[in-house]
Structure formats: structure tokens, C-alpha cells
Amino acid sequence: MALAMNGDDTAYGELVRRRQDAIRHLFRRLTRDPALADDLAQHAFVLAWKSIRTLKSPAAFGAWLRKLAVNCWLQHARIKKYEVALADEAPCEGHASSRVTERLDLDAALATLPPHARLCVVLAYSEGMSHAEISESTAIPLGTVKSHIARGAAHLRELLCDYGEPR
């Protein structure tokens, strides 16, 4: 970490290798497009590489990187003005139970959420962040974060009804 902060590209490469999985998964859940997700993840890692010297504490790298990634996503969502339309695929119609199908359905269901709600749900469920941490990372008010997560989760449950235990 210290080497990477002093401009050692090999050390930074090792850091990326360790963190790339988490960041790429975060973007995959957010974009539903693996190529775009990798592109955004690379962009986030390049931004982190450019400004790693400004990082105050090496221990904060993970949270700092995630915040950078969230900002990349918000910027991307702002530029693209993502349309909130129900995906072409109907998430509840398929009955295949393989993990790949579950993943596709989860991503399709997530894609039906508005960008900010999707971001809050993904940060809570995929990254394990608390509501307060999400609010701090995204600059979305805490109350809005809570309602995004509650409504988003209810919406996902409805769409993914085939996969959960009967409630």
C-alpha cells in the first residue's frame, strides 16, 4: 500500500488485482452490462491511480476506492440519464434454478430500479454497507437511502418471487 502511494505501479497493480473482483461486481450489479461494468471499473481504478497520493490513510483505501467507484457510477448515470423502463426480459417467467440464471434475473430485476435506488440496494446487499455509510458515500439523505432500500428490496422480492423461500 505504501509503495503504491509512492508511485510504484507494480504495487498498485497488485492492489488492483486484489480489489478488482469487488469493484467489477459492484458495477455489474449496477449496469447489468459486463463490458460497461469493466470499463467503469477500469475508469475508477485509473482515477484512483492518479490521486492515490492524496489518500491520507492506507487503511482507508477500500472505502475510498468504493466511494470513487460510486462517484463514477453517479457521473455515468447522470450523463446517460438512464431510462427506467422494465427490462425486455420478464424476470419471473423463467424457472431455471442455476446460479447463472439467478444472477441474470437478479441483474435484470435490478435494472428495473431507478439508478439511485439501484445504487442504494446494491451497496446495502452486495457491499454490506450500512444505511449511514451509503448516505455518506452517495451524498443521498439518510431517509431517502432507507426508503430506496426498503422500496427497492420490496420491488426485487416481487420480481424475484421464484427464488426466495415462501414468505
Binding site: 467489477r24 444472477r103 428490496a153 426485487l156 426466495g164 423461500e165
Partner: protein, 108 residues
């Protein structure tokens, strides 16, 4: 920690299959190299811009400096003794700054 729906949490956990990193890393290294080259080009451009500004201003500044030097050279030796006292030095500095400010090319 906030309460999460266990079924949804399970689905999210299952969706985290390990991803191959070789293609991703190759693409990232390419982007880092491109960013490095862009930064270098911008630095060269900035240096060139500063050099151009310096070159454009050098002529008039040198002319005015020469005029000031000539003026100082014309000062009789009696005044030269005053110039090397602290007060003389301070006054001469103020006169010098005023002369430089007056000679600024942007004022022309």
C-alpha cells in the same frame, strides 16, 4: 448493521462468482499508460505555454530594465553612498518596483 432481507442477501451473495482478471488487467494497464502519456503531453504543453509568455514579455522587460540600469548609472557618486544605507536601499526598492509595474507589457 441494518436489517436485510435474507433471501435477497443470499441471491446477491450467489451472484458474486469469481471473475478472471487477465483481460481486465491488460485493459487497465493500457488505460493507465494512455493516462500517463496524456499527463506528460499536458505538462509539455504547459511548459511551452509558459515559455511563450516569457519570450513575449522578455523584450519589453529587458528594455525597461536597461533604461533603469542606465538611470542608476547616471547617479552621481554622492547619491551612491545614500543608496547603500538601509533607507536608501528601501527607497530604491520601491522605485524599482514602481518602474517594473509601470513597464508591464500588459499596460501598453
Amino acid at each position: 448493521m441494518n436489517e436485510l432481507d435474507p433471501d435477497l442477501a443470499r441471491l446477491f451473495a450467489q451472484a458474486r462468482a469469481p471473475l478472471a482478471d487477465d483481460v481486465f488487467m491488460a485493459g487497465l494497464l493500457l488505460k493507465m499508460e494512455r493516462a500517463r502519456r496524456t499527463r506528460m503531453r499536458l505538462q509539455v504543453l504547459a511548459i511551452a505555454a509558459v515559455a511563450v509568455v516569457v519570450l513575449l514579455n522578455l523584450g519589453p522587460v529587458l528594455e525597461d530594465t536597461a533604461a533603469v540600469v542606465r538611470l542608476v548609472g547616471d547617479i552621481p557618486p554622492a547619491y551612491a553612498d545614500v543608496l547603500i544605507t538601509p533607507w536608501g536601499w528601501a527607497v530604491s526598492m520601491l522605485v524599482g518596483i514602481a518602474a517594473v509595474l509601470r513597464a508591464r507589457p500588459s499596460r501598453r
